[in-house]
């Protein structure tokens, strides 16, 4: 069993669906971090089978909308003095702004992009979103 030491002060993002850890890692720009970060792929999970985990040994601002967009079952634990000081409950965002892009080649956002790129939740179960401009429906992070 691979062991990653616990952190003193920072954030643990757990229960990330396997395969999405790297996307989250890149979105949070953790490749540029000058503090310790662990990205764990395919950890064993009783609930999920396999999961990804990110441990960040620093306090950083996190866009919880993006996490909720990937999966609202992701757990975020804020760590202080080596123990969990706060658990953040995620929700599936009803509107997401400037996180995903529309893939419809007929959408105005394919040629002009100086305005907010907004999507609205269509179906919580299917995890589908509708583009504000062309109404195209996308599933940004398929389950």
């Amino acid at each position: 069993m691979l062991e990653i030491t616990s952190i003193e002060k920072g954030i643990v993002i757990d229960h990330i669906p396997a395969g999405y850890g790297i996307q989250l890692f890149n979105y949070l720009k953790l490749d540029k971090a000058d503090y310790t970060v662990a990205l764990i792929f395919n950890a064993f999970s009783k609930k999920m089978g396999r999961k990804d985990i990110i441990k960040i040994n620093n306090e950083i601002d996190i866009d919880y909308n993006f996490l909720g967009l990937i999966n609202a079952n992701i757990t975020v634990n804020i760590i202080d003095k080596g123990t969990i000081s706060k658990k953040v409950k995620l929700e599936v965002p009803t509107t997401v702004t400037n996180i995903i892009r529309c893939k419809n080649p007929r959408c105005i956002t394919s040629i002009e992009n100086y305005f907010n790129q907004q999507f609205h939740l269509v179906d919580k179960e299917k995890h589908s979103y509708r583009c504000e401009y062309c109404d195209d429906i996308v599933v940004p992070f398929p389950r």
Partner: protein, 307 residues
Amino acid sequence: MLKGRSLIDPSDFTREEFREIFDLAHQIIENPEKFNKSCEGKILATLFYEPSTRTRFSFEAAMLRLGGTFIGFSEPNSSSTAKGENIADTIRTIECYADIAVMRHPKEGAPKVADQYITMPLINAGDGGHQHPTQTLTDILTIERLKGGVENKTYGFCGDLKFGRTVHSLIKFLSNYEGVKFILISPEELRVPEYIREEIIKKKNIPFEEVEKMEPYMGELDFLYMTRVQKERFFNEEDYVRLKDRFILDNEKMKHAKPDTYILHPLPRVNEISLEVDCDPRAQYFAQAKNGMYVRMALILKLLGLK
């Protein structure tokens, strides 16, 4: 209150607000002279980034018949768009010169973007394969004049239901009314987009069928809305050629329709309705085109807050 508002999507106005527009359109048809000075001193800007005959002419004719005038372009190469200007800058500039604007654009959502940057009323005159709300006003006015109202009727839509923006707008509008049923006739590849099926038709529990043959359903319909398979919406010419002649309405097929089943078409037509059908009194697409001018007159008046 419609004064100062924009019409980008059929869901922008309530049923009551649409009622105001249709009531005024009926009044204009009865007595057009009464309104021939209503827009004196007002300027309509027509921004057509995509070719159009009926829609542009009907807006321009509508403004002229109201005593106003118009400025604009009928293809983007004759505007600053050719120099790379974005929509936001173009519309903000036009707002300096005009009182109200109309925009047609090949990209879906373009009028919605433009509307975020101005305070004058903006009318979506068709955005890609997405929406065409003033064609819907035209269609509804025609339906009202033929059958008195839109409720409790079966509507057939035939042809390109995927990219047919007039179909999307009309379905969106009709879905707010009781007793409507849709028969959606198209090849599998050209069925209505998912957001229309899931978000509008299914969510509002409207009975509908998606079918690939016209004849068996002709006898059920109160209106048959024919559409052209639009070459300009296809990225692949082969797909267009394969699908364009799939549905052709002719006198033989009209025999299956009821004596009061009316045929509508947003025009232009290519060959999806045979010329022989034009002589059938149930063919109402040219009357529809005329109604388009009257209902656009009513819309302009309402958005400018004029009488």
